[in-house]
Structures are given as C-alpha cells and as structure tokens.
C-alpha cells in the first residue's frame, strides 16, 4: 500500500474512481459538493476588507457569500487542503522539478519568465471570471454537476472544450517560436 502511495503516477481511471468516492462521500455525509471557485471570491473580498471595507460592504455579491458562511467555509478549507494534499503527494513521489516556463508555452512564446508570468496571470483572471459567470469550475460543474447529470455541468463542459480546443490550437500551434 505504501509502495502505491509512493508511485509517481496513478492510473487516471483509478484517480477518477477515487475522486468519485470522495465526491459522493462529501455529498451524502457532509452535504457539500466539491468546488473551488467561490474560495477565490472570498479571497477577493478579503482584499477589500483590508483596503476598503466600505467598498466590500457595498457590494451585494460579496456580502451574499460572506453573510451565508463567513470568511472561512468548507470550500475555503477544501482549497487549502488541496494545496497540502498535493504537497504531500509530491513528497511521496520522486523529486521532479517543473519549469517556470512550460515547454509548450516556450515553443510558442519563448522562454521569457515575464511573458509567462503575465500570461499565467491573465489566464487566471479569465478563468475565474468564466467560473463565476458559470457559477462553478471544473470540480463544481464537471465533476459534481456532471455526476448528478446536471444540464449546467454538461453545458459548461461543452463550452469549455468548444472554445478551449480551438483556442489551444490558435494559441499554441499558430507558429513556432522564432
């Protein structure tokens, strides 16, 4: 068992099964669904709390989330746990450095750290905006929603791949790095 925990890569099918078990457990026994995007709403709210409380209090979107479950709720704890769990998994695997600039990005945009930092940042802005617009992210919509056969989850997935796949080709396969 310990050997398996120390393996570098698990079969995606096994990961899928275990994720399903985790998800269903949380659903039935904890009455919570897996999700991560509202944790970022809370972090944004925290920023305003520190720099401009009145702005925060005047924004009904933030206040609706905070009033219901406060600053740290199940999902925020979950997201923090994800960080810890991933770190634990990594500790148990062979040490393996990830490049700051991933290869696929480098092939297209060159190896400038600044370019990658800006790109990652912009990607983050877009992704969370999209997540909140849709009311969920891959965990919330695709996994939790998908397994309940929610139409919203499946539409989210269609939208994701529908625009994501052509964008991936346009962005990364347009032309090779000079």
């Amino acid at each position: 068992m310990l050997d398996y925990l120390k393996k570098d890569r698990w079969s995606p099918y096994i990961v899928g099964v275990l994720l399903a078990l985790l998800s269903v457990y949380c659903f039935y026994f904890l009455h919570h669904t897996l999700g991560t995007s509202t944790a970022f709403v809370r972090l944004a709210a925290l920023f305003w709390y520190w720099f401009d409380v009145e702005h925060l209090e005047g924004n009904s979107y933030y206040m609706s989330y905070l009033a219901k479950e406060g600053w740290i709720n199940w999902q925020s704890a979950l997201v923090f746990g994800v960080f810890l769990g991933s770190g634990l998994a990594k500790r148990l695997s062979k040490p393996d450095k990830q490049d700051f600039v991933p290869k696929i990005w480098k092939d297209r945009f060159g190896d400038s750290y600044i370019k990658r930092a800006v790109g990652t940042f912009l990607g983050g802005v877009i992704i969370l905006f999209g997540a909140r617009f849709a009311g969920g992210c891959t965990s919330g919509h695709i996994i939790s929603g998908g397994m309940q056969l929610a139409i919203s989850g499946w539409l989210f997935m269609i939208g994701l791949f529908g625009l994501g796949v052509p964008s991936a080709y346009l962005i990364y396969k347009a032309k090779k790095a000079r």
């Binding site: 746990g81 991933p102 992704i127 849709a134 499946w154």
Partner: protein, 192 residues
Amino acid sequence: MEIPIFSGWSDLFTGLFAGVVFGFLLQKGSVTRFSTIVNQLLLHDFTVMKVMLTAIAVGGSMIYGLQYLGSDVELNISSTTLFSSLFGGAVFGVGMVVMGYCPGTGVAALADGAKDMWFGFIGMIVGAALYAELFPLIQNTLKPASQLVKTTLPEYFGVSPWVFLILVWSAVVILVFLDRKAASVKSGEVMA
C-alpha cells in the same frame, strides 16, 4: 453588518481533510501539470477526460443507484442559466488554455512546484474581483431570471438517468480500449 469568521469547526476540519485527499489525487493523477492540461485541450493527451469521465460514471452510478434504492438526498446543483453555463464554460476554457491549469489543479500545482502558477493564483483572485464588480451589470443584462435552470438531463428529457450513465460508461470503456490498443502496439505485440 456582522460577518461570521467561519462557518463552523466541522466544516473547517472536514473541508480540510477532503481537500487533502482531493489534492493528493490530483497530484498523483498528474493533472497538476501544464502539459497534461494543455495537451488535453490539444486533444493529444486524454488523461483529464479519463479522470473526469470515470469520476462522473462511477459517481453518477452511485448517486442514482442510491436514489433508486430509496435514498432521498436532494441533488445540489448550482443555479445558473443555460447561457451562463455555456458562455462561462467557454470563457473558462480560454483561461484554462492560457493559464494551463484550472482553479483546483492550479492550487494543487502550486504545491507541485509550478512557480508560474503563483501569478495565476493572483490572477484568479483578480478575476473573481472583476466579476464581483461587474456583477450588477451582468445580472441585469446577461442573465435573465426566466432562464434560470436547475435541471438534470434525465428530468429535462424525461428518460431514466441510466440512459445517460450508460453513455458515459461507454465513453470510459472506449478510452480504456484505445489505451489497451495503444499499449499493445507499443510493446510490439500487434502490428500497427
């Protein structure tokens, strides 16, 4: 207005524990890598789809199986309109291409050594903030309340959930089959 600090100790502990398991699985599933995510969107590497579809097939079977056996736990579906799911998903997809992770795998990637993801982390907070600022505008123009939908596929089409679950299972079986085929071609057992 009094804002509670947190929603309770049990939420804190169970959430944390669930998160640790979740993050552990994501790292071991190697979906905490830029290449895994982007290669899925380039349709070169189907790891992400294998994880997602297997989870949906197994989880869905458990949920609907338990419902069939008489469990009366209500489904918990985020309320959203058809347009927001589709459009939000599309925007999300573009962000995923550029960032190279999704929010969950991104946080996991931070612990997996993806230093560029720290900028993504900040970006995601900014993205949430941007949405919160634009929310009143969006709510009034792009999200007509009449379209609000919380339906499931079986409810909408009026058929048994198993129709859809069988489709998802079929997709998983096909992926497994293609994997086996690719593996046997690689090991030289079968002529390509």
